[in-house]
Symmetry: C2
């Protein structure tokens, strides 16, 4: 591969500079995405059409000069493939017409195999062909707890009362659903790897609303199972808002731990040791400031993470209304930064 | 005072049992509140009418048997008193027709004195009369960063891009506004104490969206100034989502640190030492479960915090749709729990 910085850092190898990419880089920050999105008119259609997903995945590669592509898809393709379809409502986000409330509901769900998410697998194959081994392609899935939260709650929520209540009131039922989601996710990620994904990332978007105890009980064991099933392919775990679980996450068989911007960098390095590479974590709001501020904040982040084991990213998906110049300034600052390499031991 | 458990624990004294109250206990969980709210039809009118605010404050006292009352008001009375009024929009929450974007906007703001929030001060006097020294009355205000966030953003937000961008792009401007808010808040809280508030709590609702560095720079110093100005009255600081700042918060001159439910209790005790009492932190979703679960989770929390220096509360304001039986079960469990007292040193 022409540029395998991401994979080398993920595997704990020293690289000549830090790799950089952005969560949600294939999306509304790009004018070419917004144009295509207007033409198609429906987010789920874009996800389900391999040619469109491929085009969107590739849009940021040359435009931004990132060190990795990430397949354009959605974490909610898994519930859909399990038999629980969703819709995307304007100004509200994903909504499930039917939700999971009982053992019977869970019994009716399929354990998804790759056929249920064939459109994303096909898109990965197309992207790999177009990339010509220039940079790695990242595959992804939602973490079981986050998928569970949507399937029980039926939509995004500030509180996720229904989903969390099931954990307290019916823990055995919750485990049954989490198990089924986990099996489906393992099939899905393995198919992504088979199709060409070079690294996979697990997004635990709603990690931060669980208590540490619940996270250890209902979230971490399932992520760990997924990581263990990925073979030699590196895995990144990004559990948003779960600073409390950082140490535990670093102990499961993953290679990279994603950090949101509220996590102190030195603390993160300290509690994760040298077991994993760290990914993140610039505050996405920095990119709304002028170049001087972006350069200063980016360089400070680069220094605080130290010279090795760092994949540069924001601490969250880039916000859709971020000025494109700010995004480019961030990436250019990372790519032109000269890290201080550790002294050679002779 | 008949029952001063809250004040004794806040001051670091040993008490015969742990005091318990709920954030948002005066609110929509109570049928009598919902009835009154329907009659009045407007939240801000309720806040601004001392007789109504008094009635609402007292509603949970007998109904729930809590160990403290908290004055019914709103953190956004401060922007209003400074010259930036707000409205409450259904399904959206507070909205400011005008927001702060420039130095000129800041210059036009008043430093509020107690006359701007006379309705809440009057309500406190009424409540104190009605309480007959039965239990303490808690006063409160928003923390300067949280108030700033609303004044610059104009409403609640997932990302607070405008408010946070000002911190990055115009830090001096941000400090000017934060200073003015802090001065206003000190006047306001002193007037609350003068009128009879026995303890004051500072709510930093949006603490958790700042990076640790920004929190130390733009949030903590102002909270510290407020705490230092409160004289002998105990102060509670509740910075939601700011687990990263726990150690720093315990070092400012406050008496109690509020914890949200995502914070590991033993970790919190460890990093705050014996400098402060801790308040919290049951997950509000527990109260949706059946009695067995509520009792189990509550007892576990009581044990994990240890026998002293603990004011019992939820880790967030009680959710409006919480079953009243669940709330009562929680309070009764706390009040009937027998803590293991530390051995007397002879």
């Amino acid at each position: 591969m022409e540029n395998d910085l991401l994979l080398r850092v993920a595997r704990g190898e020293v690289a000549e500079r830090k790799p950089v990419w952005l969560m949600r880089q294939a999306g509304r920050i790009l004018p070419q995405y917004r144009k295509l999105s207007e033409q198609v008119g429906n987010f789920i259609t874009m996800v389900k059409t391999p040619e469109i997903a491929c085009e969107v995945t590739l849009q940021p590669v040359d435009e931004l000069g990132v060190d990795a592509a990430i397949i354009f898809s959605d974490i909610l393709v898994i519930p859909e493939a399990m038999g629980l379809p969703y819709e995307m409502e304007k100004n509200k986000g994903p909504v499930f017409p039917k939700v999971i409330t009982s053992a019977a509901d869970i019994d009716q769900l399929r354990i998804a195999d790759e056929s249920g998410v064939g459109y994303t697998i096909e898109a990965i194959k197309l992207v790999k062909r177009e990339l010509h081994q220039k940079i790695p392609l990242i595959g992804f899935a939602g973490a079981p707890w986050t998928i569970f939260a949507y399937m029980v709650e039926g939509s995004g929520s500030k509180t996720f009362t229904h989903a969390k209540s099931m954990l307290y009131a019916q823990p055995q039922l919750a485990h049954r659903l989490l198990h089924k989601i986990t099996q489906s996710t393992i099939h899905y990620l393995k198919a992504q790897i088979q199709a060409g994904a070079d690294l996979v990332q697990i997004f635990d978007t709603w990690a931060g609303i669980l208590s540490p105890q619940q996270y250890r009980q209902f979230a971490l064991p399932y992520i760990s199972q997924i990581c263990a099933a990925m073979g030699q392919t590196p895995v990144t775990v990004f559990a948003k808002g779960a600073v409390f679980a950082l140490q535990d996450i670093a102990r499961i068989p993953c290679n990279v731990v994603g950090l949101d911007w509220t996590i102190d960098r030195r603390y993160a390095r300290q509690v994760t040791g040298n077991k994993v590479a760290l990914q993140g974590n610039l505050d996405p709001c920095v990119l709304f400031a002028d170049k001087t501020v972006i350069e200063k904040e980016t360089k400070q982040m680069l220094a605080e993470f130290g010279p090795i084991g760092h994949i540069v990213n924001l601490g969250h998906g880039v916000y859709p209304d971020t000025p494109l110049d700010g995004v480019k300034c961030f990436i250019d600052t990372v790519k032109s930064y000269q890290p201080e390499l550790p002294p050679l031991t002779t």
